[in-house]
C-alpha cells in the first residue's frame, strides 16, 4: 500500500467524531428547477418544505412526479410538510465531490412524518450525532441566486427526549 492510500491519522479510527457539520459555502452546484419541480424550490425560498400527495390514492411523493407512481392518477397536489422526520440512511463524506464542498459533510436520506423521503445534508450537529433513526427538522439555507436548499438539523424534540 502506498502513502497516499494510508489514512492520515491513526489507522482504523473513525476520524473526528466531534467535528461540527456546517452548511456549505456559496459556490456549490445549484439546482435548475424544472416545470415539475419549481413549486418545490419556490417553497424552499419561502421557508416551506413542499411535497406532493395523490388526491386519488393518498400516496405521498418526493422527488416531484408528473403522475402518481402508485395508482397512475394525474392528481398530484402540493402540500406543506411539518418539516419533521428521521434519518433513514447516512454517510459522512470526507472526499468531496468537487473542491466547492467543505468536508466533512453528512449526506442523509430522511423519511418525513408525512411519508415521503428527501436526500439532503445534516448540519448543526457533530459527526457523532449522525445515526439512523435520529429525529431531524428541516432548515433552509440561502445559497445565492435567490435559491434556498433544505438541510436538516437534529430536532429539538430529540434533545429533550435524551
Amino acid at each position: 500500500m502506498t502513502a497516499r492510500e494510508r489514512a492520515p491519522a491513526a489507522a482504523g479510527e473513525r476520524p473526528a467524531e466531534s467535528t461540527l457539520l456546517r452548511p456549505q459555502r456559496p459556490g456549490i452546484p445549484l439546482p435548475s428547477p424544472t416545470a415539475v419541480s419549481e413549486p418545490f424550490w419556490n417553497g424552499c425560498a419561502a421557508g416551506q418544505l413542499r411535497y406532493q400527495r395523490c388526491a386519488a390514492c393518498d400516496e405521498a411523493a418526493f422527488d416531484p412526479v408528473w403522475a402518481c407512481r402508485r395508482c397512475g392518477a394525474d392528481r398530484m397536489q402540493w402540500q406543506v410538510s411539518a418539516g419533521l422526520g428521521e434519518i433513514y440512511s447516512h454517510t459522512i463524506v470526507w472526499r468531496p465531490q468537487t473542491p466547492a464542498f467543505t468536508t466533512p459533510y453528512a449526506v442523509v436520506i430522511v423519511t418525513f412524518d408525512e411519508g415521503f423521503r428527501l436526500l439532503t445534508n445534516l448540519v448543526g450537529g457533530t459527526v457523532a450525532d449522525v445515526r439512523a433513526g435520529l429525529r431531524v427538522r428541516v432548515s433552509f439555507h440561502q445559497v445565492g441566486g435567490g435559491i434556498a436548499v433544505p438541510y436538516v438539523t437534529p430536532a429539538e424534540e430529540d434533545k429533550e427526549a435524551t
Binding site: 500500500m1 407512481r69 395508482c71 454517510t91 449526506v107
Partner: protein, 392 residues
C-alpha cells in the same frame, strides 16, 4: 420456439487494449477503435463482415471502419448490449455483431471525483452526492439491518485487489498484496467506504465479437455461449434518493423485490433460461464499484439468504481457491475502470476469457459456467448474464 433461444449464438472473441491510469495520446474514440480492431484481428473476422455495431460511439465506429450501411444499435455495450446483440443474431436481424467501448482523456481535473461519478441533477448535486456516497447510503442501510461489518467489506476489497495484484494486465499489477487490515487503514472517503473499498479510475478499451455458432465453427476461437440473462432497473441512476427499500410503487408491480435486491428478478430469469442451478456456476465476474456491492449481489442473486452476505464472503469462500471465486482480473478496483461503459463490458470479457481458459492469472480450472454482473444498488440497476462453454 423449441430449444434454447441463444443456441445458435456464440461470443467468439473478447479483446482488451492495454489499460493504464492514463493512456497518453488516446481519446475515448481512438481507444474504442483500437479495441474494435483488436477483437476483429483476434477472431480473424474481416471488418466488412460486421453488420451491427453496439457502443457509446457506434456511429463513429461504423464510419471509421468504413463498414456502412450496417445496423447502428444506438445503445451501448455491457451486459445490456450483449443480450440485445445476441437477440439480433438469434433472430437473424444481424449475423456478426461488434461491441466496442473505451475511456480515455475524460478524467483530467483530479481535485474533483471523476466526471462520470458526479450527477448534475437538482435533487442530488447540491448535496454533494457522487457515486461513493450513493453506494454508501445503500451499504449503511444493510449494516443497520443486518450488522454487516467494515471487516467483511475489507475482505471483499482485499480479495479483488489481490486478484489484480497478480494480474500482469491489471493497472494496479504488483500494487499489493493487501490484507483486510490494509483496507481498513486506508483513508476514509464516504463512510463506510475507505479509499481501498472504492473502484479506481483508469483508461482503456474493450470489445466483443458475437456471431452465429455456424460461423464460429470456421474461426480459430473457442466459442462461448450465452446461457441466459436479464436486466433489472428501478429508474435512472443518481437522480433519486438511493434507498434500500425503494420499490416500483405501482399497485400490482414487483413490490416484493426492493432496490436493495435489484438484480434478483434478472438472475431468476437467467437461471431459468439456462436451466441450471447456482451450484453449477464456476466463476463469478461480479461488478465491483465498491466492496459492499459484492455482499449485496450474493444476496440479491440468491447465493445466500438475506442478511447473510457479510458472513458468506468470509473464510476464503470468494478467494481464488474457494467455491465462489469472484472478479478474477481485479475488476474495477484494480484491473481497470475507464468510466462510462467499458468496465461493464470488461466483466463479460473476463467471463469469456475464463471459459476460453486463456486468463494469464487466476484461471479457474475447468471453468464451464461464468456469471457476470453490471451495476449496483446505488445506481438502481443490476444486469446479469450466464455464459457457458457448452452449447445450450
Amino acid at each position: 420456439m423449441t430449444g434454447h433461444p441463444f443456441r445458435d449464438v456464440a461470443i467468439v472473441a473478447a479483446h482488451n487494449t492495454r489499460q493504464a491510469r492514463v493512456l497518453d495520446g488516446h481519446t475515448a474514440f481512438s481507444i474504442t477503435l483500437a479495441a474494435a480492431r483488436g477483437v476483429l484481428a483476434e477472431a480473424t473476422v474481416p471488418a466488412a463482415e460486421v453488420d451491427a455495431v453496439f457502443g457509446k460511439q457506434a456511429a463513429e465506429l461504423i464510419y471509421a471502419l468504413g463498414i456502412g450501411p450496417v445496423w447502428n444499435a444506438n445503445t451501448a455495450g455491457g451486459i445490456a448490449g450483449v443480450l440485445q446483440a445476441a437477440a439480433l443474431v438469434a433472430t437473424g436481424l444481424a449475423r456478426t455483431v461488434l461491441l466496442a467501448d473505451g475511456g480515455a482523456g475524460l478524467y483530467t481535473e483530479r481535485a474533483a471525483t471523476a466526471p462520470w461519478t458526479r450527477p448534475s441533477n437538482e435533487f442530488v448535486a447540491p448535496f454533494g452526492l457522487y457515486t461513493a456516497a450513493e453506494f454508501a447510503l445503500i451499504a449503511r442501510r444493510h449494516m443497520e439491518l443486518y450488522g454487516t461489518t467494515p471487516e467483511q467489506l475489507a475482505e471483499v476489497a482485499a480479495t479483488i485487489r489481490n486478484n489484480g495484484h497478480v494480474n500482469p494486465e491489471a493497472v494496479y499489477h504488483g500494487r499489493g498484496p493487501y490484507t483486510p487490515a490494509d483496507i481498513l487503514a486506508s483513508r476514509m472517503i464516504a463512510e463506510p467506504f475507505r479509499l481501498l473499498d472504492c473502484a479506481t479510475t483508469s483508461e482503456g478499451g474493450c470489445a466483443l465479437l458475437i456471431t452465429t455458432a455456424e460461423r464460429a465453427a470456421d474461426l480459430p476461437c473457442t466459442p462461448v455461449y450465452i446461457l441466459g440473462g436479464g436486466l433489472d432497473s428501478f429508474g435512472p441512476a443518481y437522480r433519486h434518493a438511493p434507498s434500500w427499500d425503494l420499490t416500483g410503487g405501482r399497485d400490482g408491480a414487483r413490490g416484493d423485490i426492493p432496490n436493495g435486491y435489484v438484480g434478483r428478478r434478472a438472475a431468476r430469469q437467467a437461471f431459468t433460461t439456462a436451466g441450471i442451478g447456482r451450484e453449477q456456476v464456476d466463476v463469478l465476474e461480479l461488478y465491483d464499484p465498491f466492496s459492499f456491492e459484492v455482499i449485496r449481489q450474493f444476496e440479491a442473486l440468491e447465493f445466500c439468504g438475506e442478511g447473510e452476505g457479510g458472513d458468506f464472503v468470509m473464510d476464503g469462500r470468494i478467494g481464488p481457491d474457494g467455491p465462489f471465486p469472484i472478479t478474477t482480473d481485479g475488476g474495477l478496483m484494480s484491473y481497470s475502470h475507464g468510466g462510462g461503459i467499458v468496465q461493464l463490458t470488461q466483466r463479460v470479457a473476463r467471463g469469456v476469457h475464463q471459459l476460453q481458459k486463456r486468463c494469464r492469472s487466476r484461471q479457474v480450472p475447468d471453468a464451464k459456467v461464468a456469471l457476470c454482473t453490471n451495476g449496483g444498488a446505488g445506481a438502481l440497476f443490476t444486469d446479469v448474464i450466464l455464459l457457458g462453454s457448452e452449447r445450450p
